[in-house]
């Protein structure tokens, strides 16, 4: 939903900064920002606050200022402030940044960071003698709270600062943190929470995440950004997402600026764009690459070079969406679809962190549809219209993990724990029966066949308190904490140098001698040694590029609707490249244009098949689901479907017979029978289940580096899913799986709302040949996976490929 929010300003108390802070500020020629004084005032009232400020507003220092002031006035031993960041690196960097004012003012305040990388000895010492300010992550907080001495550690806590709240709320990490905050409120009733967030569409919901009574302090943005869309010089591609045609333009822009951040949407694109830029790099400009699969040390080096201002450009994925501010960046390039306006605002905000100067941004659409998306995203950003979804209810698998953690911390009474949990915003609506089911799962698996009474992990004493049965379960919990379950990856090494990790599936598709691009290098794959992919420098004709599961955000609902409106606002079309305008004009005369509140469907024959294209503008995941359901329905209607391809804007299904009844095809009752049938053999749900099972603690995590060659692997999570579906269809983990899938990979929520819109509002164009608008959709056939990979078909293909090879 697009909403416009006027900034909400808090009452400003005219209280200045105390010494030595006032002196320290003025020695630097600084004056405290209004919102910094507001935060100080809120701290004096012990009031929870959400600070909303554009990226680079100096939010983080503002968040610490009240703590520094209090600790300077009344030094005390023990933990005073907890700072929580979604990024490990951010926790460490913020630690460094806060050290500076402390040492310069000689405040004698102790600060430390605690992440998964902190040595064990230091962690133990931190629990005995905590610093005044501790910087940590949601996972490390969960681990601390699961300690027996958590009450002792946190009893004197006065303030919790949660950074980048917008990136946490509504995610499973956000759920984990919300439960942790609820526990902190109980352990330290005198503490209050301060959230720091970028500008978002749902400030009230975000404030509620911090605390039911949190007040909002909004810092107005600086001047509007200057956003231009790259000119394709008449060559705007029909399909593709990379925008490689614009490399010369981007290179010129890099040369004309001090420092450029180039955002792309996938790691594979990052590799290819990086290669292309270096091919064009006649002036040998320092251009670097940054994405989540690269080795941590390599990423650190790039970040440090960027901070030092020695890089002219970095090609990055969402790996740099959050992070420390880099003052020197004066241009942000978005390659490919922006996907959402709030995301674009945050990315653009990564440039020019001075409040007074406008940020500069260049958008590079990958194809004609993306040209429309860029145009409407630009308009939305300039109008301050943000999109995004309100945080969803908390996930049940995270709840299971948290209950186990709380059992590790000490005996609990279910009534008290339930009351505490529903005080966390994501779980405010949690039914007692769901809580009880989660507790049963933690206790004994929650199976109706009560086979595991003797293996129960918890036991209940006569006064109704639950205890953990065995210290072994505490260790198990500690090894498996966290909600990030990544695809199995494998380390890539060249010589002794660690380059990063790629998915096992990709390495498995290589044969020794194959070349691939990774970390900006062309590598020759030599084979696997002791679980590591060994590579050497190499060149090859057709290098592969590792692709990664997930990570592809769907088009936001807000932008999807805006694109549909854009079709009917010809006065805005001059902003488009001439070839894109022509494309729309021909479409209008040959067929029709999609309209908001309606669903356009085109049918046409081509190559002996009939194509049905549904322009749903509901994003890739919802279209993927619709494609699967339409195929099933066409089977039932005997239209003989042969395949489909799904994109962000539309889904195309092809069949041997012409579909006659389009309204019946798209009737929402497709969500009944066909959906049920599909769920019965959906691989997507199996994949989702694996993640849920790991988070909830049914299946243990694998720990990279702990695997030994030749070890027997233990079980197949797919089979567990099938068995559970057969014997325990209402099991809490299956419910968690369905809830996840209906929002994520299957995106049932958006699919449902699209189909409901479609009922009675279908614009069907029965054409004699393909329409201009359908071309980008049809061109992706063969590039995108074509529907569900049927194991038997694919294996047959592999066999026949061999026969062809043998008969040649």
């Amino acid at each position: 939903m697009m909403t416009r929010k006027a900034p909400i300003r808090a009452r400003r108390k005219l209280v200045g900064l105390p010494e030595p802070f006032a002196g320290w500020f003025s020695a630097r020629g600084w004056r405290p920002h209004g919102h910094q004084l507001d935060l100080l005032a809120a701290a004096r009232e012990n009031a929870p606050v959400l600070l909303i400020a554009p990226t680079g507003g100096g939010k983080t220092l503002s968040g610490f200022l009240p703590s520094l002031v209090e600790l300077a006035a009344a030094p005390a031993a023990g933990l005073h402030t907890l700072y929580i960041s979604p990024l490990k690196a951010l926790a460490v960097d913020v630690h460094r940044n806060v050290e500076r004012p402390i040492s310069e003012m000689g405040l004698g305040i102790t600060t430390e960071s605690r992440t998964g990388d902190t040595p064990v000895g230091k962690k133990q010492r931190q629990r005995r003698r905590p610093p005044n300010i501790l910087m940590t992550t949601p996972e490390s907080l969960a681990l601390l709270l699961a300690h027996k001495d958590a009450g002792e550690i946190f009893k004197g806590l006065r303030r919790v600062v949660v950074d980048e709240v917008h990136a946490l709320a509504g995610t499973k990490r956000g759920d984990l943190l919300a439960l942790g905050l609820a526990r902190l409120r109980r352990l330290a009733p005198l503490s209050h929470c301060v959230g720091l967030s970028a500008t978002v569409a749902f400030p009230e919901e975000l404030a509620a995440y911090i605390h039911p009574d949190a007040r909002i302090i909004a810092v107005p943005g600086g001047p509007k950004p200057e956003i231009s869309v790259v000119s394709a010089h008449g060559r705007m591609p029909w399909s593709g997402h990379m925008g490689l045609y614009a490399i010369p333009d981007i290179y010129r822009a890099i040369a004309a600026h001090n420092s450029t951040l180039i955002f792309v949407n996938t790691r594979a694109t990052a590799e290819l764009v990086f290669q292309a830029l270096w091919k064009a790099n006649y002036h040998n400009l320092a251009i670097a690459l940054h994405h989540g699969s690269l080795d941590r040390e390599q990423r650190r080096k790039v970040e440090a070079a960027m901070a030092a201002g020695t890089l002219r450009a970095v090609v990055a994925t969402s790996s740099l969406d959050l992070g420390v501010d880099w003052g020197a960046v004066d241009l942000v390039v978005q390659m490919g679809a922006p996907k959402g306006s709030a995301r674009l605002v945050q990315r653009i905000g990564r440039s020019n962190h001075r409040f007074d100067a406008p940020s500069q941004a260049l958008l590079v659409p990958g194809n004609r549809f993306e040209a429309l998306e860029c145009a409407v995203a630009r308009t939305a950003v300039l109008a301050g219209a943000l999109d995004g979804e309100a945080p969803r209810p908390g996930a049940l698998d995270v709840l299971c993990q948290h209950i186990m953690g709380m059992a590790c911390a000490g005996p609990f009474h279910p009534d008290a724990l339930y009351a505490e949990i529903i005080s966390a915003a994501p779980y405010a609506g949690l039914a007692r029966t769901d809580f009880d089911a989660a507790l049963r799962f933690v206790e004994n698996g929650g199976y109706s066949l009560r086979a595991y009474e003797r293996y129960a992990r918890l036991f209940c004493d006569s006064s109704g308190f639950y205890h953990i049965r065995n210290q072994q379960f505490v260790r198990q919990y500690r090894m498996n904490v966290g909600v990030i379950v990544e695809a199995e990856t494998i380390l890539v090494r060249m010589g002794r140098r660690k380059l990063g990790r790629v998915e096992e599936q990709f390495i498995a598709s290589l044969s020794p001698g194959d070349t691939f691009i990774f970390g900006g290098r062309m590598l020759k794959y030599d084979g696997i040694q002791e679980g590591v992919a060994v590579t050497s420098r190499g060149a090859g004709k057709e290098p592969k590029v590792p692709a990664y599961m997930g990570g592809r955000l769907p088009l936001s609902a807000g932008l999807g609707e805006a694109v549909q409106r854009f079709f009917h606002q010809p006065k805005l079309w001059p902003a488009l490249a001439p070839e894109v305008r022509e494309w729309l004009n021909v479409q209008k005369s040959r067929s029709g244009l999609p309209a908001p509140g309606r669903v356009m469907v085109e049918t046409f024959p081509r190559g002996g098949r009939y194509f049905t294209v549904v322009y749903g503008f509901a994003g890739r995941n919802a279209h993927q689901s619709l494609g699967l359901l339409l195929t099933r329905r066409m089977l039932r209607m005997n239209t003989k479907p042969a395949g489909f391809v799904a994109g962000e804007y539309a889904v195309a299904v092809w069949s041997l017979k012409k579909p006659e009844n389009i309204p019946a095809l798209l009737d929402p009752d497709i969500l009944g029978y066909e959906l049920e049938e599909w769920i019965n053999d959906s691989n997507m749900l199996r994949r989702t289940f694996r993640t849920v099972a790991v988070i909830a603690g049914l299946i243990e995590r694998k720990h990279p580096g702990h695997q030994k060659s030749g070890r027997q692997v233990n079980f197949n999570s797919d089979v567990i899913y099938d068995v559970l579906r057969r014997y325990e269809p209402d099991h809490i983990l299956l419910r968690a799986t369905r809830a996840d899938a209906s929002r994520g990979l299957i995106d049932l929520d958006r699919l449902t709302s699209m189909l409901v819109t479609a009922r009675g509002h279908i614009d069907h164009y029965d054409l004699d040949r393909i329409s201009p608008l359908a071309v980008p959709v049809i061109l992706t056939i063969g590039k995108e996976s074509i529907g569900k990979a049927m194991i038997d078909d694919l294996l047959d293909d592999a066999g026949e490929g061999l026969i062809a090879e043998a008969m040649r």
Partner: protein, 240 residues
């Protein structure tokens, strides 16, 4: 394409369930049932659904009803651990007893069940010969002829459009044949793992268990996935 394996003149037919049928001897062979694997994990804190034994038995019952063998040979590791028999659900015990009463039943000992229980019927045997074939749990190193074994839970990976597909498989080189695990929650080891390769001739063949049919591949068509375990999860002990 024929899915049949020939071993010492015996015609052996792989079944999509993972069982092997020796028609001439009216014998059905299954490997690595791993009964009560879930409760064994549950005892260590991983509370897997307690339905693996029931699932495995249902599948076994279905294949026996379909092919009507006179004899069933279980190639070892039928019980996941030495106390598994005590943990069997009474319903599962009844099913198992009815099966062993119907056909001639042989429990070959395995490393997980060095002494299979005698309470459910059937006879316990060590390695044994039947006609031209030798049956044992773990393939014997060195030269053997006509050996049928289990233990390794072999799986194979084949490149297809898009991505490799990994499935459990039978693997044979004309001298020996290794069966896939039949048990419900069993994982697998890639046939290109050195532990399995060491037992096989340089050229061997696999028959993979597809969704609805079997698929045969030569060793040169298989992906080396030596340590890759994508489809599987779990922190287990080293194979013993």
């Amino acid at each position: 394409m024929s899915m049949i394996f020939q071993l010492q003149g015996a015609t052996l037919v792989p079944d999509l369930s993972g069982a092997l049928l020796w028609d001439d001897a009216r014998t059905l062979i299954v490997a690595d049932l791993h009964f009560e694997k879930s409760s064994s994990f549950a005892a260590k804190g991983q509370l897997l659904p307690p339905y693996d034994t029931a699932t495995t038995l249902q599948r076994l019952l279905a294949v026996i009803d379909r092919v009507r063998p006179a004899r069933v040979i279980c190639l070892g590791d039928s019980f996941h651990d030495t106390h598994a028999a005590d943990r069997l659900h009474p319903d599962d015990m009844a099913v198992l007893r009815s099966l062993t009463a119907r056909v001639d039943w042989l429990w070959v000992v395995g490393n997980h069940d060095p002494a299979p229980p005698d309470t459910f019927g059937g006879a316990v045997v060590h390695d044994f010969c039947l006609g031209p074939l030798t049956f044992r749990h773990i393939a014997a190193p060195g030269d053997v002829i006509g050996e049928i074994s289990g233990h390794f839970h072999p799986k194979a990976a084949v490149a297809t459009r898009g991505k490799p597909i990994t499935r459990a498989c039978f693997v044979g080189d004309g001298r020996r044949l290794i069966l896939p695990a039949f048990g419900a929650f069993t994982g697998g080891l890639n046939v290109r793992d050195p532990a399995i390769l060491a037992l096989l001739a340089p050229r061997f063949e696999v028959v993979m268990l597809g969704q609805t049919k079997l698929h045969r591949f030569g060793s040169h068509q298989l992906k080396s996935q030596a340590v890759l375990t994508s489809d599987f999860y779990g922190a287990g002990k080293r194979r013993g």
